[in-house]
Amino acid sequence: MEHIRTTKVEQVKLLDRFSTSNKSLTGTLYLTATHLLFIDSHQKETWILHHHIALVEKLALTTSGCPLVIQCKNFRIVHFIVPRERDCHDIYNSLLQLSKQAKYEDLYAFSYNPKQNDSERLRGWQLIDLAEEYKRMGVPNSNWQLSDANREYKICETYPRELYVPRIASKPIIVGSSKFRSKGRFPVLSYYHEHKEAAICRCSQPLSGFSARCLEDEHLLQAISKANPVNRYMYVMDTRPKLNAMANRAAGKGYENEDNYSNIRFQFVGIENIHVMRSSLQKLLEVNGTKGLSVSDFYSGLESSGWLRHIKAVMDAAIFLAKAITVESASVLVHCSDGWDRTSQVCSLGSLLLDSYYRTIKGFMVLIEKDWISFGHKFSERCGHLDGDPKEVSPVFTQFLECVWHLTEQFPQAFEFNEAFLLQIHEHIHSCQFGNFLGNCQKEREELKFWRNMYHQFDRTLHPRQSVFNIITNMNEQNKQLEKDIKDLESKIKQCKNKPTDGILTKELIHSVHPESPTLKTSLCFKEQTLLPVNHALRTIEGSNPADNRYSEYAEEFSKSEPGVVSLEYGVARMTC
């Protein structure tokens, strides 16, 4: 709280970045310990979590006040105009302090209290049990076993405690192999395809340099390929571009030499590194944030950002992986440099393609928990949770979510979850509201055709959309409710038919039902209650949901018709509508 000097500023204007008429909402800005809150004259609230703030800028003073631009990690950009410079300066300084915390203990998750008791909290953490998940895949079995080598995080700090390895790989082999792999991340099981008896394994790059070998590592790879009774050869996918992998050799790292390993087929896939991805996203956001672009600017901007090319590279790699398993029944070992960014992307996306379980809500959470959280994707560094090295920030997980989104677009019926779920996850990897994504690995934790709805979900003038999803969900729920009611009523009627002796006349029947069946009445009332709000939602779907609330906004925009008239008269009318 010591950072907050001003808690409330009145007469602040909120600008819409895509509106050309400089329309603005006037309201009051509140600063709390965790959120920045703006309430406009229609009592509509805009909440911005401090942890979501990526950048705060104070622009040059104008006649109407001091502009304050806030860029968020969930791609929201807000543009405030604060009437007095001193207020603006106070808020700016407070936000600078509040948005970058130095210690984990200061993050929102440690103060967030959703009125749960300890057992409920514990249950939340036990929701996902990875041992259960490996059992579902069919391990341990005759070829794969649980290794206790990393029980105390002795071999590899960034791996989880429980690791599954081939049954014939002994502990010395594992230890030897881990010494030959960057950060000790030796080859372990990520996904086992029970039907094809093939496995997805993951590791980091070998410390091969120009000529170094490691017999234990060679043995371990052989053990993996032997663990597959169907196919003797295995694929080794290096997800880096070949050039990057070669360059690593000069630093004593590199990639597997096909001559030293028997039965491997080596393959580069060419996904770029975190720095390329970071600047690519930066360019994409610049293009997306510009209003009034011409077609050539927009598409050449999109192209030069390379974002879609990178998304495609990740997808291609996952497809290659899935094909190797389903078509050839071959096991695949995936690695990149450290095996926690590109490897996580490819392994998890490949598993998603192979296994329909991961396309359910629970399964998707399990997948993230397994391939990302437990195997040490550095969420805190990649998302910039703490004030740290900006070069470690990269949208690797965002890319994974976008790839999944592309799949949901192409296979709308294959997924139990929808865009909103993915957006919610994306929101929370940055929010630090829950503990799941804090920290960089399990040990430390013992403490997106490009996805427009994500990059534009806060620009209301740009996405005038009625929500198909809401309406369908409403209908579906309403159907279920009605059907249940019908069943209830039918069973009641049947019951009653048996009771009165002259149960032929329906009128009398129901008369006789009424006094002695309170359940019937409550179910009827219940039905009315559930029906009303749904119908209401149907009728006013555009007006009622603030996210879709466009028309009233437009009414304001046009009724202040000055800019409209001017532009019409000069014949250069530029419109956002």
Binding site: N479, L538, E569
Partner: protein, 543 residues
Amino acid sequence: MEFSDLIRTGRAQAKLLRGPEAPPLRGTLCLTGHHLLLSPGPQATSELWLLLLRSVDSIEKRVASDSGTITLRCKDLRVLQLEIEGVEASLDIARSIEALSSLESVITSFPFFYRPKGLRLGDAWHFHPPERYYKRVARETNAWRLSEVNEDFSVCPSYPRAVIVPRSVDDGALARSARFRQGGRFPVLSYHHAPSGTVLVRSSQPLTGPQKRRCAEDEELLRAVLLGARPGARGFIVDTRSSQAAKQARMTGGGTEAKAAYPGWKRLHRPLERGQPLQESFVRLVEACGDLQQSTDSWLRRLEGCCWLAHVKEALSTACLAAQGMEREGACILVHGAEGTDSTLLVTSLAQLILDPLSRTMAGFQELVEREWIQAGHPFQLRCAHSAFSHARSKHEAPTFLLFLDCVWQLGRQFPLSLEFGEGLLLALFEHAYASPFGTFLCNSEKERCLCEVRTRTHSLWSGLNQPKERRKLRNPLYAPNPLAIWPSVELQSLRLWQGLFLRWIRPPEPSEVAWEKVWQIVTDKEKTKLSQPTVSASEPQL
């Protein structure tokens, strides 16, 4: 001339490849005057495959030692391959298809022979004439009347018999105003916006010429438009050409309205692409979509290079401008370009869709297409003679109507609950505009259609589409009437490639179709439960 003269070989053994998704089909190929048939032979269970020859856009033949391959590129952007046994037979069939698919004569075309079961001739032909729309206008305002000055098509050959004009202007003045407008297309009512009392009027360019001629009756006509709306109303003339192009048009006798001659009217220039460049944009887009061996970057570059989405954006924003002028500024709008048969209709019809909730219903949209495109004299036969694949290019072809459908699709994507019809109707209209067994899109104007007796001798597409079995394909299950104007976003970030059309034959359609089917199921379930609900509530008062 008989069709049999053009058919060199009537039948041959062939294998048909229908793209990467569908399995190949083997059987006997038959050629008739209007169709290509493939009968799979007695042992197969699959049905007869049929292609309207009129829908073949280009044909390419290659011969090997004992067989030939014919590639048929259709106007609905499908690509088919026929492998035919025998070199001679394949060449003959190719030549016959070539000749039969490019027949010029209207009255020997298939619609004059098509007699489907369950439809009666002349059924839906009186469905949407301007008279019907006038009834609606007459209920809303008294300032307009139905004029039959064009009864014999002598005043304007491309207008229908009846047009809606200001009540205070008599037929003689209309005829004189027509002489001052290119092709006789004098200003007529396109849409009356009842909430604001303003109107949308369309015409062709005035023939001012280099001498800057004037026409008193034309000036009077536009003054009457403003007076009819409300005293002191302003007007905007939306010229769909650049001011440069409009000035140049003077040299060839055309031009624009002079400011001094039309008090109360202001001119705006919103250049829209038309004709040749639009056709080329379409061709390049289809080429880019058909190339499956390209990198992400080159795909984006080609998407950008073809400029199709830029045309969509321009068309939508000009329509928004017209709609905004009416609804927000309370001004009357006159739209014209040069001939007033292409971009003019694009703007007026889109503006109505934005403003008018009735035109967003199934019947209302069909009426809009009939009134603003077919009756208003969009030369479908010239514009839609060839689609994106043909090498034989005449300068008349342009996918203006397709551009309109694309804009409607963008509206539907941004407002998925506000249109009563779905993508299926738009796809059907695209297909039928280019090649159809129905007579609706035949000929270039009402006059030609009368000469060919289209109305009495062919079936109307509307009666074909309004059959109950088409319902699921064409309707939007999520439609909820929305009385407001729908203002689309025209930022490029919000516009998308119409995959359902441009990638229709390239990517597998199943998943999205299955999802659509599911939506239908949920909605019909809802209707069912709703139906059962009254029986429950009927018993409620008795409780």
